[in-house]
């Protein structure tokens, strides 16, 4: 079996349409979110009182679904792609792959419950792209810490959404998946520290890579501490997952930066449209 599979070769059937982050950024309408425009509302946080709440929640749930597929593929590849990593790390990646497979099943059922068909929204392959590095430490930083960290934020938002809407299945399922994600992040943090114990340069490079991925995942200001973002930063669960206060603050800064850039783009787009 081939090692180091690129995102363009992921196996998908005809229901799926994949796009890249480059495609997403090339959308000239990108300064404005698909579900914005609920006039008079002070917060953009995904809550049921948002007029577009159901559609936004369905879209986010589908994003979770394809994210889980890619996380499964990423953990599986890390298990298989390297000969020179500790066997215990491979076991952890195998355990994560099993968790992600279960999450895929849960997400399929939740999506059906919310009236979404598989493949109804485009699949952005940016998550798997973070799992394509030739260095396993980079994968741990990009996938387990950045990607799974984002999953903590997303699941916390969706759990709260389900709770507020009175949707018993959504709240319950997100809570269970959230618990797994906290473990995955912790696993990544522990292995990253262990594998770079005597190589501070490699550790710094991995953390730098994580920061880049964190910013990519905050693209458009989607996730930040601010109520202007649809997804909040789940500080408490991130602490439980092993992020230090300084690390959480750094992610918050990167997210704020992405939000500011998104607002600037939006302003420029409006000025351009008015010109």
């Amino acid at each position: 079996m081939r090692r180091h599979l690129p995102a363009s070769e992921l196996a998908r059937d005809e229901r799926f349409h994949t796009i890249t982050m480059r495609d997403r950024m090339a959308d000239p309408r990108a300064g404005r979110g698909r579900f914005e425009g609920d006039n008079g509302r002070r917060s953009n946080r995904l809550t049921p009182d948002l007029p577009s709440a159901s559609e936004a929640a369905r879209s986010m749930m589908h994003g979770i679904f394809v994210g889980e597929i890619q996380a499964l593929e990423g953990a599986g590849r890390t298990c298989f792609d390297f000969d020179d990593i500790p066997f215990a790390l491979k076991l952890d990646m195998a355990r994560q792959a099993w968790d992600e497979a279960r999450h895929v099943e849960i997400s399929v059922k939740l999506s059906a419950w919310m009236g979404t068909e598989i493949g109804q929204f485009a699949e952005n392959t940016v998550l798997f792209e973070a799992a394509c590095s030739a260095d396993p430490v980079m994968r741990l930083a990009g996938v387990n810490r950045a990607l799974e960290g984002l999953a903590i934020d997303v699941f916390t938002t969706m759990k709260a959404f389900g709770e507020l809407a009175g949707d018993p299945f959504l709240e319950f399922c997100e809570d269970w998946m959230l618990a797994d994600e906290v473990t995955h992040v912790k696993m990544g943090s522990d292995w990253l520290r262990r594998l770079t114990e005597s190589d501070p340069q490699r550790r710094a490079a991995a953390l730098e890579f994580q920061s880049v991925v964190d910013k990519l995942f905050s693209y458009g200001g989607t996730r930040s501490d601010s109520d202007e973002s649809m997804i909040g930063l789940a500080r408490r669960f991130r602490e439980l997952a092993g992020f230090t206060d300084a690390e959480i603050s750094r992610i918050a800064d990167v997210s704020d930066e992405a939000l500011s850039e998104a607002k600037a783009r939006k302003q420029a787009a409006r000025a351009g449209a008015g010109a």
Binding site: H17, I19, D23, R24, D27, P28, R29, R32, G33, R34, F35, E36, G37, P48, D49, P51, S52, A53, S54, E55, A57, R58, S59, A112, W113, M114, G115, T116, E117, G119, Q120, F121, A122, A165, G166, D167, P168, A269, A273
Partner: protein, 179 residues
């Protein structure tokens, strides 16, 4: 052709004005509104899904490009999305012309629950004209608005299958299950 679409050439999205006009023209026929003159103005600078109707001759419809978009392949046109999103507002407008909706508030005055319930009646009727819809999407929206209960599901089934909705029926349905 009674439907005029602007802009004539799209730059932000890969839409074709003639294709959109043909889909809306066909939709008017399905809804018994053939011959109605429509000016559809698509705001291609935004992916928002909002659609607003302004009375007049021609009937002016403003739509964000997201209302006509194929969510599977961003920036491309979806006839189904156009049928569902434009069809809903056309049916709501048609309903308002009848005595059964005499007491209905204007669109801005509708609660999210009332709008969700009205949408159910509209999309149910669109489905019966042959438009491809996914009923569970609208069931989920109604549940979000008036509760995840068996009573909501019973309301959904009633609203979905009716060909003669009324404002009192919609308002009562919402009131009956709103906690």
């Amino acid at each position: 052709m009674t439907v005029a679409v602007t802009p004539e050439v799209f730059r932000f999205v890969q839409y074709d004005a003639a294709e959109i006009a043909a889909v809306v023209e066909d939709l008017l026929g399905r809804l018994g509104l053939a011959g109605t003159r429509v000016a559809l103005d698509v705001d291609e600078t935004t992916p928002l899904t909002r659609v607003v109707v302004h009375e007049g001759d021609p009937l002016r419809i403003e739509a964000g490009s997201g209302a006509l978009e194929d969510t599977r392949v961003p920036r491309t046109f979806s006839a189904t999305a156009a049928q569902v999103n434009v069809g809903r507002v056309l049916l709501r407008r048609r309903d308002r012309g009848g005595a059964a909706f005499a007491g209905a508030p204007d669109d801005a005055g509708l609660s999210l629950a009332e709008l969700a319930a009205w949408d159910v009646t509209c999309v149910g009727r669109l489905a019966r004209t042959g438009v491809r819809v996914h009923a569970d999407r609208w069931r989920y929206n109604l549940r979000n608005r008036i509760g995840f209960t068996d009573a909501t599901d019973a309301v959904f089934d009633r609203l979905w299958t009716t060909d003669d909705p009324s404002w009192s029926g919609i308002a009562a349905a919402c009131g009956a299950v709103t906690p």
